[in-house]
Amino acid sequence: MTSIADGRSTPELDARAGLEKLATYPHHILTWVDDAGYPVSVALEADIDPIDRAASFEAPAGLTVPLDRDVSLTGSHIRPQPGYGYDERRHVTVWGRLTAAGDGYTLTGERAWGWDEAEVPFFEYSERSLPQSRRYFDALSAERGTPVKPRLSLGWLTLRATRLPFLSATVVPVLLGIAIAATHGTFDPVAAILTVVGASFVHLGLNVANDVFDTVQGADDANVTPTKFSGGSRVIQYGLLSLRRMATIATAFYLAAGAIGLVLLAFWGSPALLVIGIAGFVVSLGYTAPPLKFVYRGLGEIAVAVGFGPLMLLGAYVVQTRGILAWEPFVASIPVALFIALILYVNEIPDRRGDAHAGKRTLPVRYSRDAVITGFNLAAGAAYVVLVVGVGVGLLPIPTLLMLLTVPLALQVSRGLRPNYDNPYGLMAVMGDNVQLHLRAGILLLVGYAIVLILGALAPGLDLFVG
């Protein structure tokens, strides 16, 4: 039986559980506070009886062990790894009072505490300890009369706060939209650059705003198993940036994106671009922000699919074509949309307890493990079906079938979900593969369109569409 004691980052154990753990250690460290107020520790081997909550041992020679105060028995273990350090860290301490028993003593266990990294992984242990770190910095700040905060270099902080590596989710569909427009005979490099930069600002604004609203609504604080792919940037939780500063950064990104959007509308504008721009802004901000809060209503995956699929890709396309719409970019956006939604979907698996706590009704919160894995398989399969059917009916060019090269990676992700479903840190490799799946699928689609462009230039009459 365990409970989380006030401020304790790992479960406090009852004495019996503590003694059961202590019995697994080859030696034990008896510790008490001597009459001068200093701790005294001596290693010995105790006979442990968890049923009776008792540990008995011979009296250590030459030392006076007190019977009138709490003493402790500690077990500690590491496994040295030469040239690296160590692993298999675990320790447990049981406190209680001693009674004399023959030539020795018996400790009656009253309470216990410990940590075993096999039970609570180090990263989770660290996350559970955030309140202690905050308390320490608050005390230091009060003592010095000036704020003392954790720090990161500006470069690392920018990378972490904006989640910059995830920008591939924007760059892929935007470049694809531009590439499709180029195969249709329109390409404006200035508009292309502005589109990539503007869309990136929307994405970065979304990332930062997501942290702000998830913090306000408690989801990120409740999550003690974040990974580098899930759980937000954590910069607010770690005290690296304040909520207000993050809100300011998100606003700045959105304002910059809005300014670029106005330039695009002024020089390459069309009703289609206006509609797509407004829809993109609503989907981006409404992802976590009230009153829409798509992700809290079970619509997060759809919002991400629409935002990072059709809206990004068609938006980039209509900037280039000055408002002319076509089915081809829409069909090409569907596999991209499904794979980006699957990034969110898989990343939500380790977050599901924190999300449920905060009222986020994501699909992994609502459905069972089997249903979630089936959902992944269906969505990934649908991406390939749309591609093949799109090529088959002549909407997509034949070289885009290169995307089928990612099928083995999709199978690898699918196979990795079940064994790691309840292990956030084991799932990290799967989440990494899943990010790669979206990136590689997008790149292969781009390569397909590059082939169309090159062959179109070399052999203008060559038809790369079926039928």
């Binding site: 520790s41 020679a61 990161l152």
Partner: protein
């Protein structure tokens, strides 16, 4: 410091730091002991800084080295009583002056530090500096034999 205890300090991958909580009870934490020839140093992340609060309220501590596995198979054991001081003027980088002797025991820490963006608060740290006062030494590691006691500064008891 008795030479065998210095050798134990230099070899130990882990020792057990015991501090005294506000109710006068011992609380023990496994930590890497670092010895510079004068003081014993330990470092603590602010994540696990309760021990630092205890030391701030009561500087009397003990460090024991008991695990033969952590000292390369040696069977002798020691407990060092002393007065601790928390050094936390610069939690971000002040502790890095001990990085060379820390890395000698845990080489991986250098690589972890390069990736501090992954776990920033782990590298917001304080130093614990222990001035040894009294050493208990068990040459054969057996509690059935009385320890050899060395007073280093006055008397602890």
């Amino acid at each position: 410091m008795p030479p065998p205890v210095e050798e134990l300090l230099e070899a130990a991958l882990v020792g057990e730091l015991t501090v005294v909580d506000r109710r006068g009870r011992p609380v023990t934490y496994p930590l890497i002991p670092l010895w510079d020839g004068v003081h014993v140093y330990l470092t603590s992340s602010t994540l696990f800084s309760r021990k630092l609060e205890h030391i701030g309220a009561n500087p009397r501590v003990a460090l024991s080295i008991t695990d033969p596995v952590a000292v390369g198979g040696r069977t002798d054991r020691a407990t060092i009583q002393g007065d601790a001081r928390v050094i936390d003027e610069d939690p971000h980088g002040g502790w890095e002056r001990l990085l060379p002797i820390w890395a000698a025991k845990e080489p991986a820490i250098v690589e972890f530090l390069k990736a501090r963006v992954a776990l920033p608060l782990f590298f917001e740290r304080a130093l614990i500096e222990i001035t040894p006062r009294r050493v208990l030494y068990w040459p054969d590691g057996d509690a059935a034999t009385a320890p050899q006691v060395t007073e280093l500064i006055g008397e602890a008891a």
